[in-house]
Symmetry: C2
């Protein structure tokens, strides 16, 4: 007997070895060459960016969308957990097969089909986000959602957690670009939610219910995505401020002015200090330990000129210094600063908690003040940066895994942070989703009645609870599980 099926009321229901063997035998006959049961493949699929590992019984690498239906029909019949997987870059454990069973690897489904008239592209879930953007740019088209993992993450994964990114402030999140989905219900039935059309209001909208549901309600095998014209030109500026308060006040003025930047990234002094201490030199010459805003503008030359004028009018009052990027390469250099700050945090401690909280835009400084208070209280660094144009800040808590005391303080710190965020009218997650890591905070964000309604919907669409069991609702003590040392493609 083994750990198996674990959705809500049916936690720890066991699947016998014999039953699993029978199911796998059938699956191998139906889909020859798709089923991997060697330990290497299973270990590879056991973990995502949360780095908690549960080894599944098998990994199924489908080569056609329709094979997903075959897998699910059988899994549903036997009550075997199925966890869909793209690149495994989820930050919350949403791709970890905590109930073991089968991992459904969708990374080989990579077709891209553009309709240039309607500017709608139909993609399979394994398409990499950046690869899609690059390909579409060749046609003068733009697919804006850009999670920081975009070089590795798949569109399927992006849809599963409704991914955001740095361009959301102007262009919105993944959901805003999904016109239609094709895929399979838990029972293996093929369904379409929406079509490659700009407008569609027929029947109940299960498309948007699937988006952000982390593979718990159905499996996407095709997505029809809206594209927009690629902005003609871009301009980027990096501004130094003496404090977070000054930087965030500038964001408020900027947004209030009616200016709509295509990027509005904020870095607190803790984040900047990490980078400066690591490299031994200040990011802005003559002004170390500053808070930073990175602002991108886009549009035609005329629009850029006008927007830049307004922006500099606003920043000149309080910014200490500014670095301007007129070329793509120079912009890339600015964005490298942001990445450097993120990586440099590991010079403080070996483990980083990355909490993608959201607060009302005008309350961001209150959040920053709280991270400083928290830093004192738990004795751990709380460097924070993020998408200040959306109120979506990544608060990091840095700790050393080997120290029981630090772990305990980090755990306590996160709970306090989440409580504070919710008290500000904020959200516990803006772009990562719940997965395993944020389950303990669901009850802070949602009322019992709201959670009950969500669970009723889950139960309606997956009565046997086979789709990604253990996620979103099910108590999981992430702190009690050891993390694995595994080099991921996006690690530096």
């Amino acid at each position: 007997m083994r750990f198996g099926h674990c959705y809500i009321s049916r936690v720890n229901q066991k699947i016998s070895e014999a039953k699993m063997k029978r199911a796998l035998g059938q699956l191998k006959r139906k889909l020859p060459g798709r089923v991997l049961t060697d330990l290497g493949a299973r270990e590879q699929a056991s973990v995502d960016n949360l780095r908690i590992s549960f080894v599944p019984d098998a990994v199924i690498q489908v080569q056609k969308g329709a094979e997903v239906g075959v897998v699910l029909k059988l899994a549903n019949e036997y009550g075997i957990p199925v966890t869909a997987r793209g690149a495994g870059s989820s930050a919350t454990g949403s791709a970890v097969p905590v109930c073991q069973g089968w991992v459904l690897d969708l990374s080989l489904l990579k077709s891209i089909k553009l309709n240039p008239f309607s500017k709608i592209v139909t993609v399979e879930p394994g398409v990499l986000t950046e690869a899609l953007q690059t390909k579409m740019a060749r046609y003068g088209l733009f697919y804006p959602p850009d999670p920081s993992s975009k070089k590795y993450s798949t569109i399927g994964g992006n849809i599963a957690c409704n991914a955001g990114g740095m361009h959301c402030v102007k262009y919105g999140v993944t959901r805003d670009y999904v016109l239609g989905l094709e895929g399979y219900l838990a029972n293996g039935a093929f369904v379409e939610w929406g079509l490659p059309l700009k407008k569609f209001v027929s029947g109940l909208n299960l498309r948007d219910l699937w988006i952000g549901s982390e593979g718990t309600l159905g499996i996407v095998t095709k997505a029809h995505l809206k594209l927009i014209p690629l902005p003609e030109k871009r301009w980027m500026g990096m501004f130094a401020f003496k404090s977070e308060q000054s930087a965030l006040a500038c964001v408020t003025r900027l947004l209030k002015s009616g200016l709509l930047p295509s990027m509005c990234e904020f870095l607190d002094r803790q984040s900047v200090d990490c980078a400066e201490q690591l490299t031994g030199r200040p990011i802005f010459k003559g002004a170390s330990s500053v808070s930073i805003l990175i602002i991108e503008l886009d549009g035609s030359s005329d629009q850029l000129r006008q927007q830049k004028k307004s922006l500099l009018e606003i920043t000149k009052k309080t910014a200490l210094d500014c670095v301007e990027a007129k070329t793509e390469k120079a912009s890339e250099a600015i964005l490298k600063v942001r990445r450097l700050c993120s990586q440099a945090m590991y010079s403080i401690a070996d483990t980083k908690l990355n909490e993608d909280v959201v607060v009302p835009i005008e309350r961001q400084y209150e959040l920053i003040r709280y991270t400083l208070q928290l830093k004192k209280e738990i004795g751990l660094a709380t460097p924070t940066f993020g998408h200040a144009g959306d109120g979506n800040l990544h608060v990091h808590i840095m700790y050393n895994r080997s120290s029981a005391s630090e772990r305990k303080r980090a755990e306590k710190g996160i709970l306090k942070l989440m409580k504070f965020v919710v008290s500000l009218g904020g959200s516990i997650t803006g772009e990562h989703g719940i997965g395993l890591a944020k389950v303990p905070f669901m009850k802070l964000q949602h009322s019992k009645e709201a959670i009950k309604a969500m669970q009723a919907v889950k139960q309606a669409l997956d009565p046997k609870g086979i789709l990604n069991p253990g996620k979103i609702f099910h108590p999981f003590e992430v702190w009690k599980h050891p993390t694995v040392d595994k080099k991921m493609p996006w690690d530096h």
Copy 2:
């Protein structure tokens, strides 16, 4: 005994007079002064723009959002149908209380609260769409969704059917502006789906499930809406083409060029003929019986100049003539032409079926060709206009209600039209929803499995089936029900 509760398997389940009386007595005690039982009020709430009447047992005019919870708790306990109502401008009968019971009138909930920093406005469902737009424009802000009923229709109704309108081609539909909803489940429990935040991915997304669900899954008492900066300037042009093919080819070229108009309305020759015959003079001097495009551009002066140049470059090859509007007043005169065409259709016959179908943008001409074929086949006029930038065309079938033959041919015509639309890869509804009128076509659009999944979700959220029963899924023979002669505020 009386006709009552009718959701799916529980159709025609009766509610006794005594039980209804008891429930109403309790409700009156809990919400004194809110419950109207006089025939006048009940008849008023018995009908929407579909003009089929079912007189409810009572109309409840709530004055606070929380009262909705009180009503639903009681209705759920007694199993009484509850149909939410805003202005009653639904084109599909989604506001008709076909199972009688209680009509929940939300039109008195009218508060508007703007957060100018985040550009998020929180409104109650009874707020009129145009009133919101006008108020927000004073702050330089824009709420784009603009159904043609916007002068009368409420935001609650717009959310219930995910309303579109003429600006969707550039700015999207109602859903694209809803950040969060507050409201009540069928059991009367208060819930929040999302918050007034730009990003929110916590838990399953029931917000978007509610949007477009026509009041069948929950009742909205507050909506947090995203606003965008009001475009600085607008320009409008009306172009004449010798044929629909020529006009729609121009739309294709226009969209392919990367130009993104803020409005792209098409009128076929049948529509234009109606207006010209009624008024006795051509819309374009010297070119009668033309097909028309109305194009709006918006942005800064520079942007307008540039866009207009590109547009005229495209249209000059095929447009016969052009009327240009440089002022708001002149634009209004152009839009009056569109309204005139719509109204003039009644000079052909006394009844208009307005089908808001969607087809892929590049297949719009195939649809127009089909409407001409259909016209011959059923011997009824099929004037068509609509949002050509979205592929969302309003195909009208005109018939005389008193003629049994014409009614029969109109009914047959609609079914044929819907089949053809679906065969083109289109949608049976782009902005009206299903209501009663489109139920027969659900099975053309959605597979059995998809409909089953939708019904499972409905059952999960409204197990007693009290919310707007009889809609979306339930067979309703709209053609067998007489329509009532009732002057609506939007009638001319």
